[in-house]
C-alpha cells in the first residue's frame, strides 16, 4: 500500500506519541521552575511507554509505505521502534539516579533523549534517501547535545566537539554519496535505486556512491575505521547517555544499513518479504573484512583500558563487528541473527552501564580499581555485573552466547570460515578484559570495605535486565521467532 499524507497518520501513531511528549516536555520546561522535578522523567516514561504500546498494537501486516513512500511501516521498522524505545525506557530510569545529572535541567535532557528516539524511529523506517538523511541528522544532533550535556565539564565538552566533527564529516561523505545515487538513477526512493542497480544501469560510480553511504552508516554503528569518536564520546558523555549511545543509535544504524543495502543490492526471494543477495559486487568480502577488523580492533584495544566506560566503549565497537557477521551475506537468516543479537545486546550492555552508573555515583570514579571488592560491598550489583560481562563475552548459559551462536552459525553456514575463526579468537581475547573487571570485583579486596548503597530502583532495574540476560540464554525460542518474523521488509 502506498499511502498519502493524511491516510498515513493513523499508522504513524508511535512517532506522534513521541512528538507530543517532546512538545509537552518543552511546555513543562518553560512552565516549571524546579529544574530537577521528576515530572519530566515520568512524562517521558509515559510517552515512551505509549510509543511501545502503539508500535506493538498497530499491525504491520505486509507493510505500508507512508507519506508517499517516505517511510515504511513494516515488521522490520516495528522491531526497531520497540527495541530503541525499550532502550530509552531503561535509560530514563538510569538517569533518575544519576549523580552526574544532578542540578541540571531534567526536562531539557529528556527533550534531547526523546528527539534522538524520534529520529531513530524514522531512521529505521525511511525508504527515501532524503528522509534517510534527515532522520540520521535527527539522531545525530540531539546526540551531540546529550554528549555535551555536562556543561562546564571539560571531558563532556570535548566529547561533544569530537562527536560533531566526526559526525559532520561522515554525514557529509554520505550525502555526497546520495547525490551521486540520485544523479545515476534519477530517484530518491531506495527501491527505485535498487531497480536501477538491478537493471545494470549502474556501475563503478554506483559502487563508489554505496561505499560513501556505508561510511555514514559505519559511523553510526562505530565500525572501524569510523570508530575514532566512540571511546572519547563514551567516556566524556554522562554515563546514562553513553549507555543510550552504545545501544540505540547503533541499533538504528544497523537498521538503516540493512534496509538500504538490502533494498539496493538484494532481490526479493520467492517468499514475500525475504531477500537474497544479487549483485556483481563482492559486498560479502568487503563487509566481512570490515567486520573482522572492527571486532579485532575493538577487542585488542579494550585490553589496555583501565576506565570501565572506555573499556565498554571498545567492547561495543567489537560487538558491532560481531553483528556485522550477520550482515555480510545479506541473507534473511543473517539478518535474523543480527536482530536477535540486538535484543540480547540491549539487556546486557544497558545492564553493564547501569552498574557503571551506580559505581560512579558512589565512588566518583570509573576506573577498574574503583570496582575492586564490589563483590562484598554490593553483592547484588556485582553479581549482575558479572552476568552482563560474561554474557558479553559469550559464555553459556547467558544470552550473549546464544546471540553469538546465531551469528557464528550464519557465517559458517555461508562458508565464510575464516571470519568464524577470527570471531572465535576474538571471543577468547574479550574474556581477558571482561574478566579483569570481574577479577577486581570478586578476587580483589576492597579499598574501602564499607557497603556501597544500591538504591532500590537501581537494584530492581539491574534484576530486570539480568533476568532476561540469563533467561534468554536458557530458553530463547520466542525471541528467535520475533526476530525471524521481523526480517520482512517492504520496498516499493
Amino acid at each position: 500500500m502506498f499511502l498519502g499524507n493524511l491516510a498515513s497518520l493513523p499508522h504513524f501513531l508511535p512517532e506522534i506519541a513521541v512528538t507530543v511528549t517532546i512538545l509537552l516536555l518543552v511546555a513543562l520546561h518553560v512552565a516549571t521552575r524546579n529544574r530537577e522535578s521528576s515530572a519530566a522523567s515520568i512524562l517521558s516514561l509515559v510517552g515512551v511507554g505509549a510509543a511501545i504500546l502503539l508500535s506493538g498494537a498497530s499491525p504491520a501486516g505486509t507493510g505500508r509505505a507512508l507519506f508517499e513512500g517516505m517511510v515504511a511501516q513494516d515488521g522490520f521498522a516495528v522491531f526497531f521502534k520497540v527495541l530503541t524505545s525499550l532502550c530509552a525506557l531503561v535509560v530514563i530510569f538510569m538517569s533518575m539516579d544519576s549523580a552526574e545529572l544532578a542540578g541540571r535541567s531534567r526536562a531539557e535532557y529528556h527533550i534531547f533523549l526523546l528527539s534522538t528516539l524520534l529520529g531513530m524511529f524514522l531512521l529505521a523506517s525511511s525508504t527515501d534517501i532524503v528522509m534517510l538523511y534527515l532522520s540520521l541528522e535527527m539522531v545525530s544532533i540531539p546526540s551531540y547535545l546529550l554528549a555535551g550535556y555536562l556543561k562546564g565539564k571539560e571531558r563532556s565538552t570535548e566529547a561533544a566537539i569530537k562527536y560533531v566533527v566526526y559526525g559532520a564529516t561522515a554525514s557529509g561523505v554520505m550525502i555526497y554519496g546520495f547525490s551521486i545515487l540520485f544523479g545515476l538513477t534519477g530517484s530518491t526512493q531506495i527501491a527505485e535505486i535498487g531497480r536501477a542497480a538491478a537493471s545494470g544501469k549502474a556501475s563503478l560510480a554506483l559502487l563508489l556512491a554505496a561505499v560513501m553511504v556505508a561510511v555514514g552508516f559505519g559511523y553510526k554503528i562505530a565500525a572501524v575505521p569510523f570508530h575514532m569518536w566512540c571511546p572519547d564520546v563514551y567516556e566524556g558523555a554522562p554515563a546514562p547517555a553513553t549507555a543510550f549511545f552504545s545501544v540505540a543509535p547503533k541499533a538504528a544504524g544497523f537498521a538503516v544499513l540493512i534496509r538500504f543495502f538490502f533494498t539496493v543490492f538484494a532481490v526479493p526471494d520467492s517468499t514475500p518479504g525475504l531477500w537474497r543477495l544479487a549483485s556483481a559486487f563482492d559486498w560479502p568480502l568487503m563487509f566481512s573484512i570490515l567486520s573482522a577488523v572492527t571486532m579485532t580492533v575493538g577487542n585488542f584495544v579494550a585490553i589496555k583500558q583501565n576506565n570501565v566506560k572506555r573499556l565498554l566503549a571498545y567492547s561495543s565497537i567489537a560487538h558491532a563487528g560481531y553483528m556485522m557477521m550477520g550482515f555480510v551475506m545479506l541473507s534473511s537468516a543473517g539478518i535474523q541473527a543480527v536482530l536477535f543479537y540486538l535484543v540480547v545486546y540491549l539487556f546486557m550492555n544497558l545492564g553493564a552501564f547501569y552498574v557503571v552508573v551506580l559505581v560512579s555515583n558512589a565512588t566518583r570514579g570509573e576506573e577498574i580499581s574503583d570496582f575492586s571488592g564490589l563483590g562484598s560491598r554490593a553483592p547484588l550489583a556485582a553479581v549482575c555485573f558479572a552476568v552482563f560481562l560474561f554474557s558479553l563475552t559469550g559464555i553459556p548459559p547467558f544470552s550473549g552466547f546464544i546471540g553469538k551462536v546465531y551469528l557464528f552459525a550464519e557465517v559458517i553456514h555461508r562458508g565464510v570460515y575464516w571470519l568464524a575463526v577470527v570471531a572465535a579468537v576474538n571471543s577468547v581475547v574479550s574474556l581477558f578484559f571482561y574478566a579483569r573487571v570481574v577479577r577486581a570485583m570478586f578476587l580483589e579486596e576492597p579499598k574501602d570495605a564499607a557497603g556501597l548503597p544500591v538504591p532500590a530502583l537501581t537494584g530492581a532495574m539491574l534484576v530486570v535486565l539480568a533476568v532476561p540476560t540469563v533467561l534468554l540464554g536458557v530458553y530463547w525460542e520466542p525471541v528467535a521467532r520475533i526476530a525471524s518474523d521481523s526480517v520482512r521488509m517492504i520496498a516499493f
Partner: protein, 509 residues
C-alpha cells in the same frame, strides 16, 4: 520407579542446582546451615547413582544407537533450530556418572573446613556439579556444549576466590585455556550442524547420534581433509581439558592454587571430560580420522606418561607433584584409547575411573598436611610416619595405588592399557613402560623424604588426621581396593558399549 528411571539423569544433574538456589536464599551468617544444605544436595545424587548401578542393563551397547541407551530423556527444547534436551547413559558415561556423584559429595564434605564466604563457595560448587553431571549425561551436542561451558564460571571463581597465593593468575589461565578449546568446539559443532540432517525430519540437527551415521552427512562433510580439520578442532578442545602435552601448562597452576576440594574435582572429574568427549564425540563421529590419527594419539599419550612423570619427579611441592602425576596418568588413557582394542579401550575407561578415585585421595591427603603445616615442600618434612601413623597409612596406600601396585585399581587399568596397546604399537608401549618406573621413583622418593628418616622436630606435635577427613578418604580407599581385587563389575558395566564403539570405529570404510 518409572518416574525415577525416566528422570534419574535430570534429577542427578539438577538437584545440586536446586540446592544452590536454596543456599542463595539462606540469610547471611548461617554458615553451618549452608554447609549442610550443600551436603544434602550433593548427597542426593549418590543414592541415585546407586540406582543407576543396579538398574543399568549391562548388555546395552549405546554409542550411536538411541535405543541402546538407558534412562533416556528426549524433549524438544528450541524447535526452531532443532536443539533438544536429550540425555541418556551408556557404558561410557556410566562410570563417569558414578564417579562424579561420589566425588562431588566427598568434596563437599571435604570443604567443610572452608570458612571464607561459605555461601558463595557452596553455591558455586553445586553449580559446578550440575555442569559435570550434565556433560556426562548429554546426548545433544548443543546441550553438551552448554554444560561443558557451565563449568567454567564456577571453576574460575572457586580457584580465583578461594585459591592459594597465585590464585588470580591460575584462575584466568585455566579460563582462557579452556575457552580456546571451547570456541574451537563451538565452530566444529556449528559446521556439523549445517552438514548433517535428521533422517526423520530432514532438518539440521544437534543430535550427536545422528552425527555418527555417515548417511546424514553432506558432501562437504564426506571430504576427508575437511573431516581431519574438524576432528583436530574437537581434539584440541578436548586435549586442553585432559590435558595432553603441549596443552597441559594450565594444569599445574590451577591444581596447585585451587583449594583442596576443587583440586579433587579438577583432577578427579574435569580431566576425564576431555577423554570422555573424545570417546563420546570424536571417535564415533570421525571413525576414519580416528584410525588415521591413532598413532599420533598414542605418541601424545606416551609423551604425557613419560614427561609427566619426569616433571613430577622434579617437583619440590607435593601438590605440584600430584598434579603432574595426573598428567602422566591421563597419558595411559590416551594410549589405551588410541589402541582401539577391547583391552586397551577398557583399560582407558578403567583408568579414567580409577585415576578419579586415586587422585582424589592424593589431593585430599595433600590438603590434610597443608592444613596442618601450611606448606607442602617435600623437603620441609621428615619422619612424619612416627607422628601421624594413620595419615601415613592412608598416604602410603594412595601412593602405592597411584604407582600401580597390583591389587589396586590403578594396576588393573594400567595393565589392561599395556596389554591392549602392545599388540598395536610395540615400540611406543615399551617407551611408555618407562613411565611406570619413573612413577614408582617419584612416589617412593617423596614418601621417603616426608614420612621416613629422622623426625623434623617442627612437626613433632602434628595433629593426626581427623574423622571428617577419614570419612572422605575411606570410601575411596575401599573402592580402589575392591576394584583392584575384583574389577569385573566395573568392566561389565562398560564392556558392551566399548566393544560396540570399537566396531563403530573400525567398521566404517
Amino acid at each position: 520407579m518409572d518416574f525415577i528411571n525416566s528422570h534419574v539423569l535430570s534429577l542427578m544433574t539438577f538437584l545440586p542446582l536446586l540446592g544452590a538456589a536454596v543456599i542463595l536464599c539462606v540469610p547471611k551468617g548461617k554458615d553451618d546451615l549452608v554447609r549442610w544444605i550443600a551436603a544434602v544436595a550433593s548427597f542426593l545424587p549418590v543414592p541415585l547413582a546407586g540406582h543407576l548401578w543396579f538398574a543399568y542393563d549391562r548388555t546395552l551397547s549405546g554409542v550411536n544407537v538411541a535405543t541402546q541407551f538407558m534412562f533416556v530423556e528426549h524433549y524438544s527444547w528450541i524447535p526452531s533450530i532443532n536443539v533438544d534436551y536429550f540425555m541418556g547413559a551408556d557404558g561410557i558415561s556410566m562410570p563417569m556418572l558414578l564417579l562424579t556423584a561420589l566425588l562431588s559429595f566427598l568434596a563437599v564434605i571435604g570443604s567443610f573446613g572452608i570458612t571464607k564466604k561459605v555461601k558463595g563457595y557452596m553455591a558455586l560448587f553445586l553449580l559446578l556439579e550440575t555442569g559435570m553431571m550434565g556433560v556426562f549425561a548429554a546426548l545433544d551436542f548443543f546441550l553438551f556444549y552448554v554444560f561443558w561451558e557451565l563449568m567454567l564460571l564456577p571453576m574460575y571463581f572457586l580457584i580465583g576466590i578461594w585459591g592459594g597465593p597465585r590464585k588470580e593468575y591460575a584462575a584466568i589461565k585455566f579460563f582462557l585455556y579452556t575457552l580456546v578449546g571451547s570456541v574451537l568446539m563451538l565452530l566444529v559443532m556449528l559446521a556439523l550442524y549445517f552438514n548433517t540432517t535428521d533422517p526423520v525430519t530432514g532438518g539440521h540437527t544437534f543430535n550427536m547420534l545422528h552425527y555418527m551415521s555417515q548417511s546424514t552427512h553432506s558432501a562437504w562433510l564426506k571430504n576427508f581433509d575437511i573431516r581431519i580439520l574438524l576432528f583436530l578442532g574437537l581434539f584440541i578442545g578436548f586435549a586442553i581439558k585432559v590435558p595432553t602435552f603441549p596443552f597441559h601448562t594450565w594444569l599445574p597452576d590451577a591444581h596447585v592454587e585451587a583449594p583442596t576440594a576443587i583440586s579433587v574435582i579438577l583432577a578427579g572429574v574435569l580431566l576425564k571430560m576431555g577423554t570422555y568427549g573424545m570417546l563420546r564425540i570424536s571417535f564415533p563421529m570421525f571413525p576414519d580420522v580416528t584410525r588415521w590419527f591413532a598413532i599420533p594419539m598414542a605418541v601424545i599419550g606416551v609423551i604425557n606418561i613419560v614427561y609427566g612423570a619426569l616433571c613430577a619427579m622434579a617437583q619440590s611441592d607435593l601438590k605440584k607433584m600430584v598434579a603432574y602425576s595426573s598428567v602422566s596418568h591421563m597419558g595411559f588413557v590416551m594410549l589405551g584409547m588410541a589402541a582401539l582394542t577391547p583391552a586397551g579401550m577398557s583399560g582407558a575407561v578403567m583408568q579414567m575411573f580409577s585415576h578419579g578415585l586415586i587422585t582424589a585421595m592424593l589431593f585430599f591427603l595433600v590438603g590434610v598436611v597443608y592444613d596442618r603445616a601450611h606448606h607442602r615442600q617435600i623437603d620441609g618434612f621428615g619422619g612424619l610416619g612416627a607422628v601421624v601413623p594413620v595419615y601415613t597409612f592412608f598416604i602410603s596406600f594412595a601412593f602405592f595405588a597411584s604407582l600401580g601396585l597390583p591389587g589396586m585399581s590403578g594396576f588393573v587399568a594400567e595393565a589392561m592399557v599395556f596389554i591392549g596397546s602392545f599388540q598395536t604399537f610395540r615400540t611406543i608401549v615399551m617407551v611408555a613402560a618407562l613411565g611406570i618406573v619413573f612413577g614408582a621413583a617419584y612416589h617412593l622418593w617423596a614418601l621417603q623424604r616426608v614420612f621416613l628418616g629422622p623426625l623434623n622436630p617442627k612437626y613433632a606435635t602434628m595433629e593426626e588426621i581427623n574423622a571428617r577427613e577419614i570419612f572422605c578418604l575411606a570410601p575411596l580407599a575401599v573402592l580402589v581396593m575392591a576394584v583392584g581385587v575384583y574389577p569385573m563389575p566395573v568392566l561389565n558395566l562398560m564392556n558392551a558399549s566399548l566393544l560396540h564403539l570399537i566396531d563403530v570405529v573400525k567398521a566404517v570404510i
